[in-house]
Amino acid sequence: MLDAAPLVNKLSPTPTPAPQAPTAALLSLERLHRRFNVGGGRQLHAVDDISFDIAPGESVGLVGESGCGKSTLVRLIARLLDTTDGRIVFSGDDLAAIPAKRFAKAKQRPAIQMVFQDPTDSLNPRFTAREAIREPLTLLTGMKRGEADARVDEVAAQVGLPAVLLSRFPHQLSGGQKARVGIARALAVKPTLLILDEPTAALDVSVQAVVLQLLEQLKRDLGLSVLFVSHDLNVVRLLTDRVAVMYLGKLVEIGPSEHVFRSPKHPYTQSLVSAIPGQGPRIKLSGEVSSPIDPPPQVCRFHGRCPRGEDRCAREAPPLRMVGSQLVACHFADPAAT
């Protein structure tokens, strides 16, 4: 049922033709790598050969355990970090070519914004809410104070933040209110790509629901593209069109959210989905996660922990291939499996 917005799936090495007339992707990651030196000539492969697209107005989820590289990937896309290899093509320009240090002054800076996980940590304790939301406006759009203040009022209303709270400091605001300030700040400069890094993780359950409703409404009203990182799979399922699953720096499955959750094809995704409380029998994983330092390129990263592991997995790392409606990196993914 691919009647969602036209999707262009990019995989390496052969591109798969899109089911409908392709629309130019807003963001296109091409063979992205990020490695860190950990001394002694060894390297940690945080992001390993990741390629996927985000179409305009599309909402893509990014899930995976801690250490899988999703935080690093997100920081690469937001240009807070430099890539080791690969291209980040955004509306036709390769952003990876601009060093992160200089990106603050780049013309694309306002187009990609991010909402952080911890609302308390991501607000400067000495700035009022108004000052925090206004800063990107004055720095990135050249607005004067008066204009910027008007825009602050506008976006505060959009996120349901009462105007009287704008003159308060973060420590005078509740968790939910701080979360709204963070969202308002990101939206103020009218980005075309919004990255949400675990936006409800630090919030109480009752506040989470309100923020989720806000996010859903904004997504509808503003039509921006969203990259939604979360460990809460139920939330990802709710708010995204497609979802990408990462494991140890690699993409293991990507496809329409409903399909991935209802019939996951990669053994890791299957175990992840089964671990959600209330999902019934759990697929248990044995052993510890393999090391991301200098991993042997011909071995599947999930080998050793995978409930199904065969000789082939240690000789040949599986490429992403189309299985049913998802791209899956596993030799044994079965299109017929539920």
């Binding site: 807070l80 603050a104 991010m114 952080f116 940590d121 304790p125 720095l139 400091f169």
Partner: protein
């Protein structure tokens, strides 16, 4: 502005000790400004007939070996001592914080260079280093200020570096980058105000230390030259008379010196409270 004044009043009234410190501080500042105009007797006027007289109605703190009124001299010295201390601390603060921020935020060779310099300064007994600097550069007030500033640099560098290090990975710093802030602006607008509270306590402690430093240097003959009244010199002039019983010559200037240092130390906490937005309700 109104908010700020209200907040300052609130902080001061919370703690009676803070009130006391603030009052004393205000008194010292007042004396520093108007002291020379309100002295009862010319601090430089000597009167051989009235030498070494104990405290009396005519001379509240008594007179010294040259018959000069100690009270007037002590009062007038306030301006010089405070002036030296404030100049030294301001200089030290500005330079030290800037260097510390750079070291903590950028890391790498910035950090190595600045930290090693700081370590080198701290390797010396600080007073000896100050002596050395003044002796090498010459006996002037500006050199005392310079020397005091240099030996106090490491404290500011250390505080700023530690705080910058803690905060450099903070969410709001990353958010600042997303908002279009370059490195320099992040340091100045985002980091600096947040390290102010711990830095302010340092400033106050430093003021006390700077006064002691200047007094100490003058005591041993480096720095301010007699007959200019300065607390350290006044104490030095009276040192030889303690044994023979004319205790007041050293005592009163010393007591005032002690009171000044005490005031600044007490003020440290109050300053930190004033600058910390978390205390505002």
């Amino acid at each position: 502005m109104n908010e700020t004044l209200k907040h300052i009043k609130h902080v001061l009234s919370e703690n009676p000790v803070t009130m006391l410190a603030a009052a004393l501080f205000a008194l010292f500042v007042l004396i520093a400004f108007v002291g020379p105009s309100i002295v009862p007797i010319d601090p430089l006027a000597s009167d051989a007939t009235a030498a070494l007289k104990p405290p009396s109605a005519a001379h509240w703190f008594g007179t010294d070996a040259l018959g000069r009124d100690i009270f007037s001299r002590t009062l007038v010295a306030t301006r010089l001592d405070l002036g030296i201390a404030v100049s030294a601390v301001v200089l030290s603060f500005a330079l030290g914080i800037a260097l510390g921020l750079a070291a903590g935020f950028f890391g790498g060779w910035w950090d190595t260079l600045i930290t090693r310099t700081s370590d080198t300064i701290m390797a010396f007994p600080l007073f000896v280093l100050a002596m050395g600097i003044v002796a090498a550069l010459g006996n002037t007030v500006s050199n005392i200020v310079l020397a005091t500033a240099i030996i106090n640099l490491p404290f500011y560098i250390r505080v700023a570096r530690a705080e910058a290090n803690i905060r450099r990975g903070a969410g709001f710093i990353e958010a600042a980058r997303l908002s279009g802030n370059g490195d320099v602006r992040i340091l100045a607008v985002h980091l600096f105000p947040n390290i102010l509270p711990p830095a302010m306590v340092q400033v106050s402690l430093n003021m006390g230390w700077a006064i002691l430093n200047a007094a100490g240097l003058s005591f041993i003959g480096l720095g301010v030259r007699p007959p200019t009244p300065e607390w350290g010199i006044l104490v030095a002039e009276g040192a030889q008379f303690i044994v023979s019983g004319e205790w007041w010559v050293s005592f009163f200037p010393g007591a005032v010196l002690m009171l000044a240092v005490f005031t600044f130390n007490l003020l440290g906490d109050a300053l930190r409270d004033i600058f910390d937005p978390r205390r505002r309700t």
